[in-house]
Symmetry: D2
Subunit: 341 residues, 4 copies
């Protein structure tokens, strides 16, 4: 085990699956129409339609932030309100990207005390529809897995979706770790998304083995109408798109996305268990590939000395830390490393 | 020669140089700090500083459009005016990206009748500085090679730069085909850019052999201050940045960028010569890797039938067409194909 | 005659008609619902519906620039193109307001060589509909009277409107000097606007006797849907709206708007005639209340010495100047002043 | 007493002070330079400099929302964060205006449980300075009187200002009811603003007797640099500015602003006392001209039947209501009306 096996700063500190790199080489064949008019992009849309068992539109982009911001730009007018968790990536970690892409929509942060959004808190927050003085309720965005490493069950999503429908909100899912959530559930991609009321999904592959494999997947056709223009003017329409679509095709092939995610989740479970045995307290149940824990100072110090890399995470409470595992993590190696502490 | 050798729709219909793909594999080694905190990105900045023989800041991004729009966002306030050629990519081919990133700056199109900007026309167009009624003169953007396939000599750039300095305009160069221009000149990268008054450069590698290799190179340090935030909120900060920086490092290694560009330029010259022999008239001198020509209808028809792929180009005049060659074009094959017409 | 009778810098250097000030006093009666929920605003909408002989929506705002920018914000998406005269107020005199309100739409300036837009030039400029690379053709805006003091006849507007319809452009009229144009035509308000294809009108009263009397008048109901929100978030929804609506009601009462405009136009005609007799050459036919003329240097000097106030106007050609008359101008006084030169 | 004496929906349902209307007539004299180049505007700046005992810049605009949004646009970049009370007008009642004018800055709502901002809560909320992932701490905005009718004492403002200084936040005051706050304090205008660390102030006169009398007053000269352009492109630069500056001049003359505010505050105190005697519970101490109270249902019903006009106000708690008094309110009449209940 190399020291870097203990790098838990994020899943994106790791590289790419070999299958992804191979796909790039295979896509490097002759000329192909630029800007998405190529076979790979066409096949990607068909493949995702199979996986999600529905018609859909696919917009590959460069980053998860771009997918999220583009998504939010079609669910809210510039004077709209988008409800989100107060720790949501869109609210906290995108440097105002959603406000940029939407032309100034307002993200309204909700407490979501247990690491997930609460439908009753959402209902209480919705305010001012139709009155010209107030920014207008427009959308809801949820992260799957959540910003606290939790996973929404389909029935939980449906309850949120019911509030959306009653208030004419469009429902977006930030799936930067969608595969990690999916393999934690006994549910299909369809059940976890459009069948539970999701209108559009940021489908992320980068954190789980791609170089830059992200796509906005749109289930509600009305929402797709302006996206091609929005993507282009955001500088997110790659000319050699085939190399981005090919990554996602390989990601979905032979279930690479799910096997990668399972490795990460298994490693997170092992890590969580080991940390608890050493005296850590989990801030949230570990359901996907993130561990939020409060560590006794001595344990934090020892882990640091042993080469564990991880971030302080004040949102997890006093002495809170975050550990993220990836498709390259190894449960056995983690157990061994913790065992020797 | 495969049929696709005759694909002249654009240089971006072609794939990547093998060296670029190899670089991706070599960069896929263990964990590395995300978001540009990696060795490859650090080395890229050093390498570009050597090549341009000056201190500079480098911001890799996903597309040339993103590099351009980010560049323009720091040279003009939302109420600024940016002067450009009326056929400029930023004006015509980016779906309003510059207006998006600048928050509404105005691109003022100039005629630039000979396929390049004219300093006297620029001077006449500058208007209203300091008066609150008018959008404020802020910047100039020039494409090297130009939107008409022409190449600015350093002394031409300096004349434009003098107008900029006299009017406090910041000077940007869109270098989507910078390598193609550079190898057409007897000048260094420095002489073609900052020594000629360029404040910041969109440095493009995608059209010339990368998968997605673009960087905003900033010579004027004041302009770099906000770019990290602007890039992030535009969804252009790649988490696995090493795979983008590594492409550009390989692009610059052993002069790949220049050798690729030379192949493309040589092919364009051969194509132009061949077309002229068949009765075409060039709309502009062919100086880099683009040929703008008016074809007799019979010739256009025959080329189509022979499998030549190229676009109608009304801006090149009646019966105008554009052909673009690439690093994978082959002068001999082009001559052979034309010879058999 | 006071010296200030010779103030031709603009029609907005003059104050208000007494009827307008009286209307303010009369509106100052007790409490009234704020933000336009008052009787005056309600009556204004009815009155304008009578005058234009159609259903319409009215949005009073504070300035003509605001009316124009709000209008353009509903005719173009942020990636849209709005065609306009190269000297249009929206292009040249609003410090980028249209770009601000539209979120970055592109104004494409047309030559309009005779002081009006030319439908054939417009047709040639329209470009790129449906193609993701290009900002999308969205709207046309025309000033009535024009930026060169000319007046569009209804049949001229219809020709432009036909181009709009064929290209799905929305058609806006900037009527900052609508009354001056109207009284110059043998046509009704309806014939000059919606019957000629105008979708929405910036209806201006400020230059013609109000303090701040401007309203966006929307003939096409689909365009009104978001305007209430847009106006509010632009800080253009006055709480004590009654005082703005009351101005426009008084402006329309007993035909004050037309009688004021006639005075201004008559004075302009007298001024133009007098200047021509002194050796000036008119840059454009004088049809409303603006005179664009090239003056022999000696004449310009003498007018200055006599207390005439007027602006240099390079767009009117070498030694070009602009004179604007107002509802407070007096043809006889102008003739007398010129006669004594 | 007319029924309308009992209109407590807002202070802006009332008209203008006679002195304000007179000032309009007096300003209607001959020609004057447009767009603020007039004497009235010049005198207004001098008068405000006297009142605030410092150099300052003044930008009259049309509405308080415009003053606020313009202010926020110079204290935060598009990727900035502005901290505010969760009930702040800028957050709740301007339909996203601040996001529009700032180009997408984020308003971060604070609880401010006692009807004012809390410096410790503010400190805890500040986060992420310098890190590219996070919107950047930029400004603080406070309403004086507050959104809950409370008044900040100078020493309270200084504590907030200390947090601002320590974190490089610019400090804005929304003074839509500044006069009402001022007369409630034993402090000078200077002590209540720049001496307490306020960088710029939305100075409101509309709610207290003007037709539309609002100005952005800038104490920190660096912040004024771009405001003239920003105001113009927002359609907030009135051509006949004299009529807006003249209102504010009259407002400040012979202390009209303070005497009007005192009437309103006295009436509010009388109203609050009367309501409490009838069984109401005040949600916040009544310090200016707003009363937030929870009414027993029978009392609410009776007030409605007696012609009292006032709004439900859920933010004041269950069975919460808001009453606003104005310069036209009369304490004796209120007491009489309540006494007869």
């Amino acid at each position: 085990m190399t020291a870097s096996q203990l790098d838990f700063r994020s899943d994106n500190v790791w590289g790419a699956s070999p299958e992804i790199l191979n796909a790039l080489s295979q896509a490097n064949d002759g000329s192909a129409a630029a800007y998405g008019g190529d076979d790979w992009t066409c096949r990607l849309e068909r493949r995702l339609a199979e996986i999600f068992a529905c018609d859909l539109s696919v917009f590959p982009v460069g980053t998860g932030s771009a997918a999220n911001s583009l998504a939010l730009s079609v669910i809210a007018p510039p004077w709209g309100v988008i409800y989100c968790h107060k720790q949501a990536h869109v609210q906290v970690d995108e440097c105002g990207g959603p406000e940029f892409f939407t032309g100034g929509a307002k993200l309204l942060p909700l407490e979501g005390r247990r690491g997930k959004l609460d439908s009753e808190e959402l209902e209480r927050a919705i305010f001012g529809a139709g009155a010209v003085h107030h920014a207008q309720p427009a959308g809801l965005t949820v992260a799957q897995a959540s910003e606290c490493g939790r996973v929404y069950r389909p029935e939980e999503l449906r309850v949120l979706s019911d509030v959306c429908k009653a208030n004419k909100l469009t429902f977006h899912m930030d799936g930067a770790r969608f595969a990690n959530a999916l393999v934690a559930l006994d549910a299909t991609p369809a059940e976890t998304t459009w069948k539970a009321g999701i209108d559009l999904l940021s489908f992320g592959g980068t954190k789980n083995g791609c170089i830059a494999g992200e796509a906005l997947v749109v289930f509600n056709p009305r929402l797709a109408e302006t996206l091609a223009f929005r993507r282009k003017r955001a500088g997110q329409l790659f000319s050699k798109m085939r190399f981005f679509s090919a990554q996602l095709l390989a990601y979905l092939e032979r279930n690479l996305w799910c096997s990668n995610a399972r490795k990460a989740n298994t490693a997170a479970a092992a890590l969580a268990q080991g940390l608890v045995q050493k005296g850590a307290r989990l801030a949230f149940p570990v359901e996907a590939n993130e561990v939020f824990a409060r560590l006794p100072p001595a344990l934090a110090k020892e882990l640091n000395e042993r080469g564990f890399l991880f971030y302080d995470w004040p949102a997890a409470g006093p002495e809170g830390y975050r550990f993220v595992t990836s498709f390259q993590s190894d449960a056995a190696a983690i157990e061994a490393a913790l065992g020797s502490c």
